[in-house]
């Protein structure tokens, strides 16, 4: 066996050119076997048929203008859009008096601006904005919506409804569950036995019960914990119920994130002299939360949809208010409920899909791991 010494370097080349283009992809990824080809055609046909059915129902057979149910009830009529137009204000405001609806608009507007400020990375003053949104905004929204003070007329929560109730419930639950979930997660992992025991009991109790039951219990059992004669507002009880429910789930999600952080991070933080709260706030939590963003957003999304369960305790959220419209003799028709549910699905989907997309954007944005 003789040795070998390279005298001329092997040339550094660019990779061989692959075939590209639609035809190539189709041939290599889709029609690369008989079964694949048949499946692809079957799926395409199914998709086409579904899309066509919806488009036909919504547009070609859809009724666009009508004073009442007459046209929608006609043989072969599709979606009954005028019903939605007639009802849309009620969907957004519930039974909130027309003259006072500017207050709801103002709450929506302030919330949207503040949230945009928080969510768009390029906008400065994040800390102030967060303090405003999480501490001040709920107070402002409360007084604006309820009134009875500062010269605003009182609008009882009985009159709230629709999107307003859905947003009040879900935004409050989200805003409350984030900090409460963090505290509960830290509590459960605490080295202090009492703190850990109490957190665990709370989390496991709430998690072991369906949300519907939590809502029923909040509605009916709350007065037991209150002085005699005091029965808190129906909406308030539902808000408290959903918030506590959301917090328990949030706590478990965050605990999962905490477990993903290596011990070395805690030690690194301790060794440079950070206290418990500072190392949690500056080192551990930012990393743990980043790990669990998808689960947190998933939790927000299911929370947003689950608020529709409050109809069982007599509140009219978005779903509830849409359903009440079906019985209106002026509009009751074969297509009314179809149209209502379809529009509702689009609205819920739009909210949830935006949350999902935003979370993906933030995940990419926060990725500093540079894993190779």
């Amino acid at each position: 066996m003789t040795g070998f010494v390279r005298t001329i370097d092997a040339p550094k080349l660019s990779p061989p050119k692959g075939e590209v283009g639609l035809i190539h992809t189709l041939r290599h990824r889709v029609f690369n076997s008989a079964i694949g080809g048949v499946l692809a055609i079957a799926i395409a046909a199914l998709l086409f048929w579904t899309a066509w059915t919806i488009i036909d129902w919504a547009f070609f057979r859809g009724v666009w203008t009508a004073p009442d149910r007459e046209l929608c009830n006609a043989e072969g009529a599709g979606a009954c859009w005028p019903f939605i137009k007639a009802r849309s204000l009620q969907w957004v405001y519930g039974f909130y008096p027309s003259a006072e609806r500017w207050r709801v608009n103002l709450v929506y507007l302030i919330g949207a601006i503040s949230l945009a400020g928080l969510m768009i990375p390029a906008i400065p003053f994040k800390t102030w904005n967060a303090l405003f949104f999480f501490l001040l905004y709920p107070v402002i929204a409360f007084f604006l919506l309820l009134g009875g003070k500062f010269g605003l007329t009182l609008v009882e929560t009985e009159q709230w409804g629709g999107l307003l109730v859905t947003l009040v419930l879900s935004v409050t639950a989200i805003v409350v569950s984030a900090p409460l979930g963090i505290l509960l997660a830290l509590g459960r992992r605490s080295e202090m036995p009492i703190v850990s025991l109490l957190s665990t009991i709370f989390i496991e109790t709430v998690r072991g019960v369906p949300l519907v039951l939590v809502l029923f219990m909040a509605a009916n059992m709350f007065p037991l914990f209150m002085p005699p004669g005091v029965n808190p507002d129906k909406l308030l009880k539902a808000v408290i119920g959903t918030s506590l429910f959301a917090s328990a789930y949030m706590a478990e999600i965050i605990r999962g994130g905490l477990q993903a952080i290596p011990k070395g991070q805690y030690e690194g933080a301790q060794a440079i002299g950070l206290s418990y709260w500072k190392s949690m706030g500056l080192i551990i939590m930012p990393q743990a939360l980043k790990v669990v963003i998808p689960s947190i957003v998933n939790n927000f999304i299911s929370l947003f949809k689950d608020t529709s369960l409050v109809t069982v305790v007599g509140l009219f959220d978005l779903l509830g208010i849409v359903q009440t419209g079906f019985n209106d003799p002026k509009w009751a028709s074969a297509q009314t409920s179809n149209t209502g549910y379809f529009a509702l699905a689009v609205i819920y989907w739009a909210f949830c899909f935006s949350m999902s997309r935003y979370s993906q954007f933030i995940e990419r944005k926060l990725n500093t791991s540079h894993k190779r």
């Binding site: 002299g273 500072k278 926060l366 540079h370």
Partner: protein, 245 residues
């Protein structure tokens, strides 16, 4: 005579029933450089982690820069402020840039103004020869660079004592020297250092004393020349034979 930077007297520690540190007595003068070596599992990491209370000892006294380490949380905070530590696996904070890693503790613990902390951090990053990496994230650096950042991060707190726990053991061979160079530079600058390491050339070059541990005890301790040339204990001899071939 310089005062003591670290004093350990009759220190014992157990993990459950396992007696991991047995009657440790050690006095480190300010400016002294100590190298600790010994077989894996002999308690070297545990010993130096007791000095900044990452581990709690159960018996005996540890005094760091005049502050006794007891359950008193304030004392623990005070000691950690004066003691810097460099870990085998760096333990940098991956969500912060190199510069932020270095300024975090000065800003939040020492309450330095941000500008001053950054200026200070940059001077230490220059000292460990990576000022140009300041705005990168740890994940973008090589192991050797990360360990030098970790040293700079500890130095930014102006510690009186530096602890090193096998700082080169996790590095690829070609990166060991760049880290050792920084440590030699630090030693020559008069820093009080306790280094757990098996880099015997480093020990020869900078250590005032070499300590050999086995089964939770200090078995032998001497100046490097004597230690390597004339090990007294058979256990030390066996260990040196194994690592020096």
């Amino acid at each position: 005579m310089p005062h003591s930077a670290v004093t350990m007297s009759h220190v014992d520690k157990w993990y459950g029933p396992f007696h991991v540190l047995r009657d440790i007595n050690l006095d480190v003068k300010a400016g002294e450089r100590i190298v600790i070596c010994g077989p894996s599992g002999s308690g070297k990491s545990t010993l130096i982690r007791c000095i900044n209370r990452l581990e709690e000892h159960q018996q005996g006294d540890i005094v760091v820069d005049g502050i006794p380490l007891t359950a008193n949380l304030k004392n623990i905070d005070d000691v950690r402020r004066e003691v810097g530590m460099v870990f085998q696996h760096f333990n940098l904070f991956p969500h912060l840039t190199v510069l932020e890693n270095c300024t975090l503790a000065p800003i939040w613990v020492r309450k330095q103004p941000k500008a001053q902390a950054e200026e200070n951090a940059m001077s230490f990053l220059k000292r460990v020869k990576i000022p140009e990496q300041a705005l990168k994230y740890p994940g973008q650096l090589s192991g050797g660079q990360q360990q030098r950042v970790a040293i700079a991060r500890a130095l930014c707190m102006n510690p009186k004592v530096m602890l090193f726990d096998e700082p080169t053991s996790a590095l690829d061979p070609e990166m060991i020297k760049e880290v050792l160079d920084v440590m030699v530079d630090l030693a020559e600058g008069g820093m009080t250092m306790l280094c757990v390491t098996h880099e015997m050339a480093f020990a020869r070059q900078v250590a005032d004393r070499v300590i050999f541990m086995d089964q939770g005890q200090i078995v032998e301790e001497n100046e490097p020349e004597e230690f390597f040339k004339n090990p007294k204990s058979p256990r030390t001899r066996l260990f040196l034979e194994q690592i020096l071939h």
